[in-house]
Amino acid sequence: MALDFEKPLEEIENRISELKKLNEKADVSFDTEISALERKLRSTSKRVYSKLSPWETVQIARHAERPLLRDYIAGLCTEFLELHGDRCFGDDQGIIGGFATLRQHRVMVIGHQKGRSVEEKIEANFGMASPDGYRKAMRLMHLAAKYKLPIVSFIDTPGAYPGLEAEARGQAEAIARNLTEMSLLPVPVIVVVTGEGGSGGAIGIGVGNVVLMLSNAVYSVISPEGCASILWRDGSKAPEAAAALKITADSLAEQGIIDEIIPEPEGGAHRDPNAAIESTGDAIVKHLRRLKKMSAKRLIDHRYDKFSKIGRFKSRK
């Protein structure tokens, strides 16, 4: 599944594989041509991916084959004991969580689940969590606090579910409560934006001591489409909105919102999921080691300072 801007690469790839087939059958060798094309592929690749527009990055962040939470768990955790339920209403599948052993560290993993197959997607509501999802997440975070387990929160959601039931059962309240109570968690909280960081639905599990972000992930106050339809009165202006909102990892690092960019394989995490997952593990463990040395009070103050300085007004500016 090539994205629009990947079409030139796809063409070269197709020609290479055609020549390789011919190579097997015919007497003449196409080795030289193949080598040339492969060089061209590498340089074109570099050119295409090194100057992705924000909108193209959005496409990669939403790519159907991009690794999802279950892939990170499978790749990084030798054990995952999924826990269920908000103790109040249900067990939303838009956010899942449980005890996990991540590269030998016992942690509480929580995160958005998007689902891969159609059934999974429907079950997970495409990663759009309901209030019970946010409440389950908070319950598990309180449990982590009791057990003194660090929390690793994976963000990948188009946004919190905008449905009648979700409103009636307090989507706003659930997110607000998480923001409030996460700020007082006495354990390390590491947030990783792996794909889409969609607005309130993202930050609802996003109050971390550190916030990491994959290099092709995006994190935004509103979806580019939503922004375009409001400010441009034209949903098709999403590319412009994506650029204006500065939602890529580079921009967010510049704005001081994220602490580290986790590099993805060229072309995006979906082109080599294992490599992306391993890099993510490396980054998590690095910060985990550091944060584990902090006292509960220090962790709470550290998190408070981190967020209270975002948008701190400097009168001289």
């Binding site: 919190a160 579910y161 905008p162 449905g163 009648l164 979700a166 409103e167 009636a168 059962r169 307090g170 989507q171 706003a172 309240e173 997110i175 607000a176 409560r177 923001l179 409030t180 109570e181 996460m182 700020s183 007082l184 607005s199 309130g200 993202a202 930050i203 609802g204 996003g206 109050v207 994190y219 935004s220 106050v221 509103i222 922004c227 409001i230 400010l231 441009w232 009165r233 034209d234 202006k237 412009e240 909105a241 204006a244 909102l245 500065k246 939602i247 967010l252 704005q255 919102i257 998190r303 408070y304 967020f307 209270s308 975002i310 948008g311 701190r312 007004f313 009168s315 500016k317």
Partner: protein
């Protein structure tokens, strides 16, 4: 009432239009003087029209006791944002000129029936009361100020949500303000949230929902997602009372609905229970 604007423009021979106002809800024609005397609440249908932050402050704070706090904070333009209608900077400048405010919230302290309180009052006229860096900063600084003095903190919300023009920094104000509220809770400093029309999006999903008690004005629109977005998502029409204060009361998110004219007295009563003891 001290706060209603004198209709200074009235000249001999003023047209009928100058004397009457139309209720935005029931379309009834109300004599302007009555409209102001009723604090911009429709005497026919009890519609609570949006009012400015200074009007609201004057309704609540004892005369002569208000001191603005964090008043130096104004809008930032971290993204150098520009959209179809031009640069955000110009839009913000226009809002400032129109309202005389520097941000979408007025913050300060004063006395409410003799009780010292810290207060943040949002103003919908300022870019739809949107939550941006300056808004979040003012609310957070004022909450911290309240914490230091152990003054009860009251927020009047009126907001369409996070301000897109400041991007992710606006979103982060949800977490920033909630962390400040969490500190008030730790210190057992009362925090009362009053939700007025409209309180939606990132404001409803942060400090506005986190009051020790949440109060709303009658029929205020309160919700997370926009009505149109929800209808498109669920492919059905929403009930008429959906996302009204009354709906939220019924669903357990609001403690009480208080009319504008009773607000000061109600808050004063509530604050008696939150007195330090």
């Amino acid at each position: 009432m001290a706060w209603f604007r004198k209709s200074g423009k009235k000249t001999p021979g003023a047209s009928e239009e100058d004397l009457w106002t139309v209720c935005p809800s029931c379309k009834a024609h109300i004599y302007k003087q009555e409209w102001e005397a009723e604090l911009k609440v429709c005497p026919k249908c009890n519609y609570h029209a949006r009012i400015s932050c200074t009007e609201r402050r004057d309704l609540l704070i004892d005369a002569g006791t208000w001191r603005e706090y964090a008043g130096h904070v104004t809008t930032s333009d971290p993204l150098v944002f520009s959209d179809a209608k031009g640069p955000y900077k110009e839009k913000a400048a226009a809002a400032k000129a129109k309202t005389g405010l520097k941000e979408s919230v007025l913050t300060g302290d004063g006395k409410l029936g003799g009780i010292p309180v810290s207060m943040a009052i949002m103003d919908f006229r300022f870019l739809g009361g949107s939550l941006a860096s300056g808004t979040g900063e003012k609310i957070t600084l004022t909450a911290e100020h309240a914490a230091r003095h152990r003054w009860p903190f009251i927020i009047f919300s009126a907001s369409g949500g996070a301000r897109m023009h400041e991007g992710i920094i606006s979103l982060m104000q949800m977490a920033k303000t909630c962390a400040a509220i969490a500190r008030l809770n730790e210190l057992k400093v009362p925090y009362i949230s009053v939700l007025t029309d409209p309180t939606t999006g990132g404001v409803s999903a942060s400090f506005a929902m986190m009051g020790d008690i949440n109060i709303a004005e009658p029929r205020a629109l309160i919700g997370f997602a926009g009505r149109r977005v929800i209808e498109e998502t669920i492919k059905q029409k929403l009930p008429d009372d959906f996302q009204t204060a009354e709906y939220l009361l019924e669903h357990g998110f609001i403690d009480h609905i208080v009319s504008r004219k009773d607000m000061k007295e109600y808050l004063h009563r509530v604050l008696q229970y939150g007195k330090r003891r």
